[in-house]
């Protein structure tokens, strides 16, 4: 019999090393995973709270909002309203996993399998992460961002920097390139570039230019709308990018700050699109690894039962009428789908052969799953692989709530022959980021007139923006643009539903 990895609940660093080696053996040999090098760090509860407040990253620039989140998490943690995560994992190379010190040995095994191998494999192989994030460069880039923000504070004052960052944060969800095509982000090069840009500015600075009389500026009114839009790259849905490139009166350092916020938003973009898959993958991997370790006799029955207890809690899915219900649990849905795929591949029924001819009975579970993990995101994953059997098992149904409908909320489809495809399509759509975020884009700038920036919100299914928040965000936007900003909400037929116009607040000390 193989040696046990540990006895009881206690662990030390040698235990962690043995656990990691054992997990790695299963992960690489049995499951054929492909991971970044691992770095495992043991942290305290306070450090976990620290990590929470800086969006899980080990280092981040300073901003009051992180302090707010820290205070909030700390208060709820102290009162016992909130437990802390067992781990946090960072999409970087090496892949850093933070483990809480108070986890038992079993829990450490679970989270190492979950984070250091499950998430790690997903980060390294999923196409979205490959396309949008630069795991090698992220930590260096964050370090650069932190220092850059600090330098800006020294040079231009904390208040000024804070104002710019506040505005950038408000627009963060609209600072993302949603479509690939541009070259892959290289954060290391990005950092060097910022340095060079600054140096160049300093080298070519000559105060004399200020005194040279400017020639009569050309009137742009002659420019056709088409040409103007082309010059500004309109329509543009990446608001931060647009401001960084085209806002008329931003100082170079402000543009750089917008750029930093934009890059960080972009870095997190894949995570928001792959919650179900990412957690499903990690949960499936930890389940496989733990089971394998138990079968090899490397963890005891007692430890395995402890693991099953935690695992069951993690993948618990309350039903819609349960007070604990708050939407689909990504762990539960993801794990259920992965297991379902395993079933379809190894032991399909006739229904599965009909629905999934490509994979049913293929028998290579890991091959199929690795392919799925690499090439899908939540929306396409659910759209492709949610099986009728699982829909029946979870007893899914689709509600359509039209406020105009007097009779109430209509049950549009249920888990039956007629409803399978509709339920699945609707659930996939719920996980489509393009559908969740408001569709807002810059459509025009009145350059010949008052330089008003014009945005459109394309309203889908009548869901308009929350008024107070929209006004506040637009205020930030106007402050950056430094001229009026108009946001027009239009429906699918281009009918104007609502119009906001916001003027910039006067800046106390003009930023020259």
């Amino acid at each position: 019999m193989t040696e046990r990895l540990f006895e009881g609940a206690d662990w030390d660093f040698h235990t962690l090393q043995r656990i990691t080696d054992a997990c790695e053996e299963v992960a690489l040999k049995d499951l054929g995973l492909d991971v970044y090098p691992n770095q495992i760090e043991v942290i305290t509860a306070e450090q976990m709270l620290d990590a929470y407040s800086s969006v899980g990253m080990p280092l981040f620039y300073k901003h009051w909002s992180f302090g707010k989140h820290f205070a909030f998490h700390e208060a709820s943690y102290r009162k016992g309203l909130m437990g802390l995560a067992y781990e946090i994992v960072i999409n970087s190379s090496p892949c850093i996993s933070y483990l809480m010190e108070e986890n038992t040995a079993t829990m450490q095994t679970l989270v190492i399998a979950h984070a250091a191998f499950g998430h790690n494999h997903f980060f390294k192989n999923n196409y979205l992460f490959k396309q949008w994030t630069d795991a090698d460069g992220i930590l260096d880039y964050l370090d650069f961002a932190k220092n850059y923000v600090m330098q800006c504070e020294e040079r231009y004052g904390r208040i000024e920097v804070e104002r710019t960052l506040d505005a950038a944060h408000a627009l963060m969800s609209h600072g993302i390139d949603r479509y690939p095509g541009k070259k892959k982000l290289d954060l290391r090069a990005e950092e060097k570039r910022a340095g060079r840009r600054r140096q160049h500015e300093e080298e070519v600075f000559n105060d004399l230019w200020r005194t040279v009389p400017a020639g009569k500026s050309k009137t742009r009114s002659a420019l056709s709308i088409e040409r103007r839009r082309k010059l500004l790259g309109l329509p543009q849905e990446n608001l931060l990018y647009f401001l960084e490139k085209s806002a008329p009166r931003l100082a170079p350092w402000q543009r750089e700050l917008l750029r930093i916020v934009r890059h960080i938003a972009q870095y997190f973009y894949p995570q928001s699109q792959t919650k179900v898959m990412n957690e499903g993958t990690a949960t499936y991997v930890h389940y496989r690894i733990m089971t394998a370790l138990h079968q090899q006799g490397r963890i005891t029955d007692g430890n395995f039962l402890e693991f099953l207890g935690s695992h069951t809690n993690v993948v618990f899915q309350p039903e819609f009428d349960d007070p604990r219900f708050s939407g689909f649990n990504p762990y539960a849905l993801g794990f259920a789908m992965m297991q379902d795929i395993e079933r379809i591949v190894t032991n399909p029924e006739d229904e599965d052969r009909e629905w999934f001819p490509d994979i049913a009975g293929k028998n290579d579970v890991m091959g199929v799953l690795r392919d799925v993990w690499a090439n899908y995101r939540d929306e396409s994953f659910i759209g492709q692989f949610l099986s009728p059997k699982l829909m029946r098992h979870l007893r899914m149904f689709h509600l359509h709530d039209d406020p105009e409908e007097r009779a109430g909320i209509r049950v549009d489809a249920i888990h039956d022959e007629r409803g399978f495809r509709r339920v699945r399509r609707e659930l996939a759509r719920q996980h489509d980021v393009g559908y969740i975020d408001a569709n807002i884009e810059v459509v025009d700038v009145d350059l010949s007139g008052d330089r008003r920036l014009i945005l459109h919100h394309h309203v889908i299914k009548g869901a308009q923006l929350n008024e107070t928040d929209a006004k506040r965000v637009l205020q930030h936007l106007a402050d950056l643009w430094t001229y009026d900003v108009a946001l027009i909400e239009v429906d699918a037929n281009d009918k104007v539903l609502r119009e906001y116009v916001v003027s910039p607040r006067p800046i106390p000390a003009a930023v020259a």
Partner: protein
């Protein structure tokens, strides 16, 4: 594949401290309001214990574009009885429906925990002690190390190279140690010399110089100096706080409670400014006595009321134990305002001649029954006496308090930053 396992637990904590401070700075006025509000509701003992405060989220809001309303579609788990085409009553099925989108905007108030220091800082932020002029070296509580010249003995780590070399140079000049170029010059002369006799002479001279240079070393143990350090006492400013209270029968528990709250605030406040604060409790009826805190607040006593007895006691204690040139003296008197009429003159005299000249600050707090209306009708005998003194220029602070919630505002009022009052007075 190499795996790094790192123990981060020993990393310095408080990584979020700066963010937290930024947040507090930004929310300062809100948090300060909350701190004042909570401190009123609290027991005096834990008034400054830190703890949870709630602030409105309004100023700290981080806006985002959010969508709401419209027609909604959702897929839910756990269907038990519905079939396609059923209608659900909105109110009935509300619970499941609301839990999703409602999440974002339910946090209109924001609760978090302040540490003790943060709490006290905010609590006392805009207050200032009057007249911090007197400070005296006494009560050495800490020792510091200070450079104190040079010494001929010490540890090698403390060797002062520059001083040593300088002394060596002085000695070499004084003893006329031959310089290197002098010898070289002589050697050159010898080499160039042709006359045998003169050569002999020069050689002898060279010998002599070389011997002398050997006798007088370049650096002598005598030259070596070490930097000297000395421990010095650090001056610590000290203060004494006198609590005077009337404990005659007319003082109710409520009134004592008010007085106690005031004293606590004053104590905490002094504690922040002075490292060393002593408290003297003097209670009086028609006699005054110095007592401990327990007796002061809870000990039973009865009798008439002679305020002058307390002032007299205070004066004696000051004379015996607290030399005004060494101590910052603060006094706060609490009373319901009763005093026997015959005592008025003596009280006034003691106060103006003996007490006020040595005090940094003297506050009189007149406590009343909660909701007592008679309180406002006519001034008590003590109040009118003090008011007269104040009008004739005595530096007295006096306030009336009858509700627990008034304590903080009154305290605040008394210690408001002085610049503002001066500014007001100046033009």
């Amino acid at each position: 594949m190499p795996i790094h396992i790192i123990d981060r637990r020993l990393n310095p904590g408080g990584k979020s401290l700066e963010n937290r401070q930024r947040f507090l700075r930004r929310a300062k006025s809100l948090v300060q309001g909350a701190v004042k509000k909570t401190s009123q509701e609290r027991d005096i003992k834990d008034v400054l214990e830190g703890g949870e405060v709630t602030i409105p989220l309004d100023g700290m809001h981080e806006p985002r574009f959010r969508r709401e309303g419209g027609t909604r579609d959702m897929v839910l788990p756990g269907n038990k009885k519905f079939i396609e085409g059923d209608y659900l009553q909105r109110s009935g099925q509300g619970s499941a429906k609301d839990s999703g989108p409602g999440e974002g905007d339910s946090e209109d108030a924001f609760r978090f925990v302040l540490s003790r220091d943060e709490f006290v800082d905010l609590f006392l932020d805009d207050l200032e002690l009057p007249d911090l002029a007197k400070r005296k070296i006494a009560q050495t509580e800490s020792e510091g190390i200070q450079r104190a010249g040079y010494t001929t003995s010490g540890s090698p780590a403390n060797i002062s190279v520059s001083r040593t070399v300088r002394l060596a140079l002085a000695r070499r000049i004084a003893l006329k140690r031959p310089r290197k170029d002098e010898i070289e010059e002589l050697e050159a002369a010898i080499a160039a010399c042709t006359d045998e006799d003169e050569r002999e002479l020069l050689l002898a001279q060279l010998e002599k110089l070389k011997a002398k240079s050997k006798r007088i070393p370049f650096i002598d143990p005598l030259d070596i100096r070490y930097r000297r350090f000395e421990t010095v006492p650090r001056p610590v400013a000290q203060a004494v706080m006198f609590c005077l209270m009337d404990v005659s029968g007319s003082m109710s528990e409520h009134m004592k409670d008010l007085a106690k709250r005031f004293y606590m605030l004053l104590y905490v406040f002094l504690k922040r400014r002075y490292k060393h604060v002593e408290i003297v409790f003097i209670r009086h009826t028609d006699r005054a006595e110095e007592v401990d805190e327990q007796t002061f607040f809870y000990g039973p006593a009865s009798g008439g009321t002679l305020v002058s007895s307390a002032l007299q006691a205070m004066h004696e204690i000051v004379r015996e134990r607290f030399n005004p040139s060494d101590w910052n003296i603060y006094a706060a008197q609490a009373s319901d305002g009763d005093n026997s009429y015959s005592d008025g003159e003596l009280t006034g005299m003691l106060l103006t001649d003996k007490i006020l000249p040595v005090c940094q600050f003297f506050a009189y707090l007149e406590v009343g029954e909660s909701g007592g209306s008679a309180f406002d009708l006519s001034d008590s005998s003590l109040w009118s006496l003090y008011e007269r003194l104040r009008n004739s220029g005595a530096p007295l602070s006096m306030r009336k308090v009858s509700e627990r919630s008034e304590i903080f505002p009154v305290f605040h009022d008394l210690f408001q930053r002085r610049e503002t009052t001066q500014e007001k007075a100046a033009p």
